[in-house]
């Protein structure tokens, strides 16, 4: 697994951590991506799909497909709405949708 750093100013970035399927498909554990003052889940997802085309899923351009992924902010809160604001400094966890075992 690799950890990619795209820019180095932590307070101007959003950290994205990949788990399960997302890590399998990107081959990456985590990346830091530059972010405007506030971005949305939808814009973050679009940026991720450009960076990792393996994440692209037909019909799921504006948000992570809920059948595949679950999104958590900072390990605290699960979110699905594409317009969920994601501010700089936050950590976005992309997990497999199904956590059963």
């Amino acid at each position: 697994m690799t950890i990619s750093v795209i820019t180095s100013e932590a307070d101007e970035q959003v950290r994205v951590e990949f788990y399960g399927l997302a890590r399998q498909r990107t081959g990456t554990a985590a990346i830091d991506i530059p972010a405007a003052e506030s971005i949305t889940l939808a814009s973050l997802w679009r940026a991720l799909v450009i960076r990792f085309p393996q994440l692209a899923t037909p019909g799921a351009d504006s948000a992570p497909p809920t059948s595949l992924y679950r999104i958590n902010l900072d390990g605290q809160q699960f979110v699905t709405h594409p317009q969920t604001p994601i501010t700089r400094g936050r950590c976005v966890l992309i997990m497999s949708a199904d956590v059963g075992g």
Partner: protein, 637 residues
Amino acid sequence: LNDGHGQYTTTSTPRGCHGRYLRVDLETSNGSWWTLSDRVLRDFLGGTGLGAYLMLTEGQAAIDPLAAESCIAFVFSPLVGSPLTTSAKFAVVSKSPLTDRYNDSLVSSGFAIAGKHCGADAIVVTGRAKEPSVLVIDNGQVRLLPAGQLWGATTSQTQTALKSALGADFQLAVIGPAGEKRVRYATISHDGRHAGRGGAGAILGSKQLKAIAVRGQQRCAWAHPQALYEYAKTLSRRSMEPATAKYRELGTATNLLTFNRLNTLPTRNFQRGRFEGAERIAPETLTQSRARARASCAACTIGCEHLYELNTDRSSDGTKVRLEYESLFALGSLCDIGDPDVVLRASHLCDELGLDTISAGGTIAFAMECTERGWLREEWLKFGDGGALLRALAMIAQRTGIGEHLAQGSRRLARLVGPQAEDLAPHVKGLELPGYDPRGAQSMALGFAVGARGADHNRSGAYEADFSELVDRRQIDHRSVTAAIATENRAALIDSLILCKFLRGIFTDLFAEAAQMLNLACGWDVTAAELATTSERIVAAKKLFNVRCGWTPHEDRLPARFFDVPLADDPVACLALDEFQCAIEGYNQQRGWTKAGWIPAAELRRLGLERWAPPTLLPAPDAVADNDTTLMRAHDP
């Protein structure tokens, strides 16, 4: 045919079922056939539902599960043998020697199909063989073969030897040394898969039954075969959709890093929710250093099993180990073991000895904490010591030294160690907790507490809500109650159909589709609404069995360590005892039971369960804290 119970009017046997079960008495080596009416089959379906019915009708609640007169049922379902993906499953149902309550375990593959082709919807085994034996059921004909030479053999050795002796077309359910020694969490193994929880293997051991071999040619007809085939094709295609991708591409073990990140990975006997060694034992890491293979059960299109090479050095003989999340957490983080070689070896050892990995790991981790606290004088049994883990597993299977006590499970061990230990023993009703920290997954915590089988992630899937927007996973409330009931009902239906739960994500309306499947297979005009009631009936039947066993509301609880103290790695994750108690009462009331959890007579009547109401097991007056006036007293003869 005997109509053993005569409670329902017998009608014609539906398609998809045989309308009877085979009851084998090991004392006499005889089998007898007992009727299952259309009404019974429709009300309880198969799998765990029909198993609960059989346990109630066989009067097993009052019987020691390790006594000769106890019964153990191998239960098939209307969909077994159909072209529906993942339908080759059977339930092993009994009273548990670990919990002394209702128990069912599901296991997949060819035994289900071959067993049903013997002409039976279930096989019930009672009595005790005079010597170590193999029960052979060949197209419905019963015979016992001596198996003294197999006594002591591992599960895979037994499987190989019997396939060679009987023929490859026999399907086998076998026990390992742990079952022979009546370890209370011994498994029954079929083709390397296990009916894992609750100690079914100990029951076979107590009956001196090393294995059951089945073969048959009695196929059921289907009500609408062409339409069933077409539907099955569609279902198989859907089973390859994104909802099952995790299972196909990675398997359940990939939960490990996710749970670790969320501080819900039980570590050091639930002292922590985060494990520093998680990356080392995670499948994402194992894949980089070991050969991996994928396998699937018979009649399954998902293929969720991921096997990892046991040895990576020159001594490797190519042996691969199935690795599921629950084994990984129980033999890894729970015991503070971060060495992947040890975890794989321990998992393999459990498979070969016939031990439930969750209960084995849970009991050993508990003993490690007792040692750490100076309550147990087994200085070698320390957290993080891989050699100790492997040694303990071998001692459990042989019941030597401390293994004699570890073989009893954490609840009984805690009673020996002392009252202070009982707060830390990681079980509900005697069944060790699966790998979800209750403080960080509080809906799941509720599911654990109220489950008839004990702490259980397969009969309650409330974790689905915890890891979603539906609830705040660290704040139990009414939404947790709703989630616990909904997922428990869904599990009751899936486990009775029987289908694999890994399919659940592809259904938009499970109950409606289940009705369609049953219509195509059996010709029943069943509806989604009827199946909703059926699922409630099945949940209540299990509870009723427990009531007949002597259940009290006090049993629906978690160990004291989980309450009112935040999880070490997450100060927000704190489970308040008063809120948890409110949620249990809410669960009971939303089920139509009393606040304390007793099932009112009217509810039993609604579900058609009133004939099993136990008039002699009424709660003591002081146990009735609410409006329990319509309890089972209404059914006094």
